[in-house]
Symmetry: D3
Subunit: 211 residues, 6 copies
Amino acid sequence: MIHILFFIFALLFTSSTNAAVNDFCVANLNKADGPSGYPCITPTKVTADHFAFSGLGVAGNTTNIIKAAVTPSFVAQFPAVNGLGLSSARLDLAPGGVIPMHTHPAASEILFVVKGRIKAGFISSSANTVYVKTLKRGDVMVFPQGLLHFQINAGKYSALAVVSFNSPNPGLQILDFALFGNNLASTLVEQTTFLDDAQVKKLKGILGGTG
Amino acid sequence: MIHILFFIFALLFTSSTNAAVNDFCVANLNKADGPSGYPCITPTKVTADHFAFSGLGVAGNTTNIIKAAVTPSFVAQFPAVNGLGLSSARLDLAPGGVIPMHTHPAASEILFVVKGRIKAGFISSSANTVYVKTLKRGDVMVFPQGLLHFQINAGKYSALAVVSFNSPNPGLQILDFALFGNNLASTLVEQTTFLDDAQVKKLKGILGGTG
Amino acid sequence: MIHILFFIFALLFTSSTNAAVNDFCVANLNKADGPSGYPCITPTKVTADHFAFSGLGVAGNTTNIIKAAVTPSFVAQFPAVNGLGLSSARLDLAPGGVIPMHTHPAASEILFVVKGRIKAGFISSSANTVYVKTLKRGDVMVFPQGLLHFQINAGKYSALAVVSFNSPNPGLQILDFALFGNNLASTLVEQTTFLDDAQVKKLKGILGGTG
Amino acid sequence: MIHILFFIFALLFTSSTNAAVNDFCVANLNKADGPSGYPCITPTKVTADHFAFSGLGVAGNTTNIIKAAVTPSFVAQFPAVNGLGLSSARLDLAPGGVIPMHTHPAASEILFVVKGRIKAGFISSSANTVYVKTLKRGDVMVFPQGLLHFQINAGKYSALAVVSFNSPNPGLQILDFALFGNNLASTLVEQTTFLDDAQVKKLKGILGGTG
Amino acid sequence: MIHILFFIFALLFTSSTNAAVNDFCVANLNKADGPSGYPCITPTKVTADHFAFSGLGVAGNTTNIIKAAVTPSFVAQFPAVNGLGLSSARLDLAPGGVIPMHTHPAASEILFVVKGRIKAGFISSSANTVYVKTLKRGDVMVFPQGLLHFQINAGKYSALAVVSFNSPNPGLQILDFALFGNNLASTLVEQTTFLDDAQVKKLKGILGGTG
Amino acid sequence: MIHILFFIFALLFTSSTNAAVNDFCVANLNKADGPSGYPCITPTKVTADHFAFSGLGVAGNTTNIIKAAVTPSFVAQFPAVNGLGLSSARLDLAPGGVIPMHTHPAASEILFVVKGRIKAGFISSSANTVYVKTLKRGDVMVFPQGLLHFQINAGKYSALAVVSFNSPNPGLQILDFALFGNNLASTLVEQTTFLDDAQVKKLKGILGGTG
């Protein structure tokens, strides 16, 4: 009898809160994004599988010019992070590998070295002070939001790091692609960066930019 | 001559912004905390060493009853995360190890399995639905803010995970310590949890609680 | 003539701002929730009735095992609170009544005693310090976000309190239901809480849990 | 032996988190305020008494021209709400009592009628639509942030309401005091409100304004 | 060959991030607003034209009773500001022109004088202190969120200012319209403001209010 | 008698709120910054002069290599913006003038052309799409937070713009200074940007960088 009474209480209470589950808001990527994220899929359609993601378990392909790869688990890959203020990515750096100079417009980043040695640094906006550290396995480094930063393999073997951001969609602006990988006119690039035309044309050629 | 002119421009510009560097705000732990974090140490005293932390590189001591250890790099250990909206921790689980049922009152959590197999799960607040996954190396799982969750070593060997939070100070409320590890009167524990007195007394004995 | 000129001015001005009324955003509960709340119903369909709610005027039914009832006016009951950062609830405690140990994952809570005597407390996450107060009519108590807390009728007569939260959807995780009211396997409960199997089975029986 | 091991684990864990308790941040009102609130008093000096406040249990003095009184429990009166995003106040309205037209610049408000009948309303900013409701005991009404609103005793007996805000310091701008209770020059008041000089002078006389 | 490799890398990387562009979220004004703004139009449909707005380049019509005009570029006029935390407006004041007493419920404001002389001021909520300054060309003034403020042409010639707000939709509550430009019953206005009935009736007549 | 009663009421009410004025928080620049801004100067020491700033009324000196100048009114220059979520700056561009490629790590920007013609643009982070507009007097353009952008004088005469940010301290990272104006080793610059050594050395020479 007691347990029936408790159960009835449970029904009385929970029924009034079921309507709006907002512990999480798994992104409905078929709907339009909004300033705070995507609309949620129906809570009753959410399963445990939504909350786990395997994509960071596969080494990225580092046979490319930068000998590195970034594998993201942002909201587009991992819809469950929608509205939860977090996302992650995996960085693979082969020997000599480089994650080129870049920023995350919308988030700070914390990096954990899983394997190898990584030289990483960022540049502050005021006084342009440089902060560079050589990190070993188990080291953590933090990169404040929006600042230019980079990671380089500082060892003889491949390196692996996992990074987290305080946004489901931190953004990523790789400097070289922003300057040389689009159709921004060479003259504009030169006027706004003081780079030589030969330099600009050369990198546009490599990166597929036009103009 | 050109470079002198540029340099003068640089002086003219940067001097007006040096006064208030706020790319980061390395915590002055000698001062009082505030609702948004600690006051900053003087920017000119900040070095690259502030932005890296080695403490997560040392395996925690798992020779204890839960056969697990949590090593945090919250603001108290890693002052540079102050105001940057992120922090991390290292989870070591020996075979049979358990991170007991707990919550982070102020943050969501994202977990990356570095090694081993981990069974992890959380309980939603509405309808108390359980979401449990067995994770392998490279898997990521996200735990929404404030909900009860746990991690268990699901393999035969030791497991290692690194977790990140979207707060420099996510908080940690371990259920057993909250209920049995303090001086909350046994009668109050029993009234508010319906646990039996014998159970409460037993766990208070183990966990050092009184009352 | 003057008033006509003023009126024309009014038209000129207001017409350009009517398009996007965002003083409030009464929830359209027929649409999907999002990380910041529900989409708004059309402003022209909003009436004064939307901004008031009577549900907290009816005593909840306390003839149950905990001799208490919680009547919420969260966004699901009171759509006008959507996006306004607030919600409320009514707590009725019969003599001997208890609101069991619980958390609100997403909000802090402020409680006002309307009638009777209530013993209320919370447990901090660090050091698990217990803060308990016996409150009388007119007393206010605040419970920080995400921490375990409870309320108990400390008098001989029924007690009534009204609580407010700094979220339209604060969430509610009742400890007993989270542990014993679902299908979380008993072995998992025991591994993560160190509770005895007999205790777990007993409470699962009462609360309708399985596994 | 087991309990000793558990206790040691507890020590190992908690010691690293004690340094920065941030479940709450009881205001140190002797220090300067900041954009997010006051610095915290030392956590070890915080007791249960900090989290409760009795001031709302005393009826305010309504023998004045508006036959009403507001008794706040903002951060200045109730330092524990600092950083917790909430505060409250008590409204007493004698028969014929009025809380005059006012705004809270920084917060939304939710009102609960404890006793009596209250006519309350607010004016939206776009189209200046008026939303007025007559509330009875147990009714709740929400007032969006920053909008002009008022409460009037609509019954024959005294009325009592308790209000909560989603800020520890919601602010309060009473229209009459803003216009007539200071040294804002009468000509300026008239230029910016189109009120007649006689009206302005009269109310300045009553409210103690000059100029 | 090198550039092909780089290009392939670019494809590998960018393809995974294209799905969710959230640098910006140009408002889809055909969809319902939400607490954080409008849903975004499809990113691929966004052009440079979305990010510029010409409407503030046209002088507002100041041949009206207040000899002033406000031309907004809020989200309704300039959808690109959706989710970006900013908006602007243009203020034209003919000689003798006045922007009457008003508030922005949801935002602070910063004003830049382009031409002329402007006397501007606001009233604080506590102690109702008045802060008034006469501004000349090039001067900047800031008005804290939610407080009553005004601008008056203090010179002999027309004045022009541009203002910015830290919200895409700051709201605007003009005092006179809130009190006299709607159907708020005269008795209610008088009860809540202590204005004389003759004054209220007069201004309702001018402003088109009823009741 | 009436006015005395009202005045007494005023005293009763306002005295309880004077303790914590938080309409504004004029920065005490002599104290340490914190994550949400500076501590406030004592409210009673605040005057109207604090809320206005004249510095943007003086043309910046454009006789330099970029033929442009930026004059900020961030919190360091204009302490009253502390905690108010806004700041501004003045851009002067002589014929041929350029504000070089830069980002604001912490804020979005809105620009108003006061005089002249300005070609302005930004680069999105995903797909690196370029958005460039030529703006004339009265035009407004918005630049999302954290993205690379620039302004160029597109006319024959000097141009003037005023910009606002949704932060008291938006930060400013000028690309050339970040890469070439500090002691970041040339090899690191080259590794992370693929720029040629000759190019790097040349710009380091001009900008005063070493390494």
